[in-house]
Symmetry: C2
Amino acid sequence: MSDKMQQIVLASRPTGAPTADNFRLEESQIPTAGPGEIVVEVHYMSLDPYMRGRMDDAKSYAAPVPLDGKMEGGAVGRVIESRNDKYAVGDHVMGAFGWATHATSDGEGLARVDPDQVPLSYTLGVMGMPGFTGWFGLMEHGRPKEGETLVVAAATGPVGSMVGQLAKSMGLRVVGIAGGADKCSLAVDHFGFDACVDHRAFDSASDLRRALKEECPDGIDIYFENVGGKVLEAVLPMMNAFGRIPICGMIAWYNEGGLGASAQEQTLTGPRLWRTILVNFLSVNGFIISNHWDRMGEFHATVGPMLADGRIKTLEDVTEGLENAPEAFINLLEGGNNGKAVVKLV
Amino acid sequence: MSDKMQQIVLASRPTGAPTADNFRLEESQIPTAGPGEIVVEVHYMSLDPYMRGRMDDAKSYAAPVPLDGKMEGGAVGRVIESRNDKYAVGDHVMGAFGWATHATSDGEGLARVDPDQVPLSYTLGVMGMPGFTGWFGLMEHGRPKEGETLVVAAATGPVGSMVGQLAKSMGLRVVGIAGGADKCSLAVDHFGFDACVDHRAFDSASDLRRALKEECPDGIDIYFENVGGKVLEAVLPMMNAFGRIPICGMIAWYNEGGLGASAQEQTLTGPRLWRTILVNFLSVNGFIISNHWDRMGEFHATVGPMLADGRIKTLEDVTEGLENAPEAFINLLEGGNNGKAVVKLV
């Protein structure tokens, strides 16, 4: 067994979409555990759109990754050395181990996981942060009611598919938006959405809106916002009175730091957004799931059984090898993945 | 006693700020009551910023005033003829009687008021729609907590002064924004705000923000939004995590239908607004008080005693004569009023 480990660091900050040369693979010795520490061998690491934000040097809810610093992210693995009373060699743990094959930890902020209960990689997706984000945002800020209409983009992603399936189970009409005919088929056939609109088939927000209107004859009561951009532009005038918009992301704008002068921005002005919120009595709530770990138990108790008996389905897009993580991440930001993007390291 | 009445109709739709020739005074016979109807002699009518929106032919929460139609608005007066079992001659009632000296009503949507309990004009201000708007928005969507900081613009207006005084009574730091040094003195000396910033003293949103920062050393937890424009631009980057923004109006944008290409709009883009909501976990809620009449009893029970014992103060800007209503309304939109704008007709 090699005593080498690998990690990927932020070599330079992207301007616009990240490219391969923004990342650098580094090799070093596998660390040993200091007092109170453990060493984890990472089995799966997560790729998520929010990581794009961390690559910018902009104020956000989390500090940016420093230049030459390890790319951040959630991962799950096995304890291979322990000087911590809470964790023994062979335990499986999930934590913010970053883009690396190995990591040390003092045990703070880790969650123990049981690979006999749920496949390890699921703790990064359907039963982890993205699934939890979908469940929390829908229940807390979406406040779904039977008979209402919900729209969610990135419908086959781990957040969107959770939101759509949960809403469907509660008797809502669920319309997904996804990029490409294949993803739309997945949303309907695999995840059970009532309909799915392919945003790539429409150049303009108004064309996309026309297609959405056919699938949402009664307007939209909940728009679960995870993309921004053209989709938001299309959806906004369709919101019903007293509609709810939970916001957990805006991937369409990430490559511009949320501030670029995109075609969307020309038309989606602050005053118009604000006025729509006022005249339709909308409730708009931004959130990040890391503020709500206290609800994780409730999430597991609710969604765990639904996953076990097939009411909630999942889909993973697995890339093998840390060296392929940057390419997989770039692909994710372009919407090239099908399902939750993870990188398998062991 | 004359048998003539007067009303003011919408002669033409304004482009930008309304002017006198958008209004026309008309004279007619005082109507008589049909079966089930009453005739009301109006004593006070209300002037409110929302009326500007009704002058545009744009989709909103209420239909626009038709051309040559009577300007809409709340008013209070005395029943002078009745063929309705619920109301007798001499009763005082509040209702949507519009800009007119007299009106008929079938009694639907009226509220009986007692001039011995509270001055008639107060039912249009501190104890009426504006006061209720401030109370409801603050309590329901602002969710004030002791020690937090609240900012409200139009601080000496009937909504802003209610919001500020209530928040102050609950132990918040309350910073007003108003147009002119006189209004700022009123906010602090008469209404008891901790501080008030004169937005007219600052040309740019960033200069206004610098002044606000001095008064809000701990950032802003609640921004009660009733103006939009430069104030929103200044406030937005100062919002604390988990901040709340109830939206009941955006007077700064009314003259552009909320959609114009103002200087604010150049910088206050949709993506930036959206991103601020996300990264600060804000809760943004649009509302109009007419959806919440069921809470009126609670409002009266809470605020009535505070008004009676002086914990809540009020201020009125009274114009005499219906013919002077357009000028007073134009003045209101320019911020020329001091306190709740009403027109005294009798």
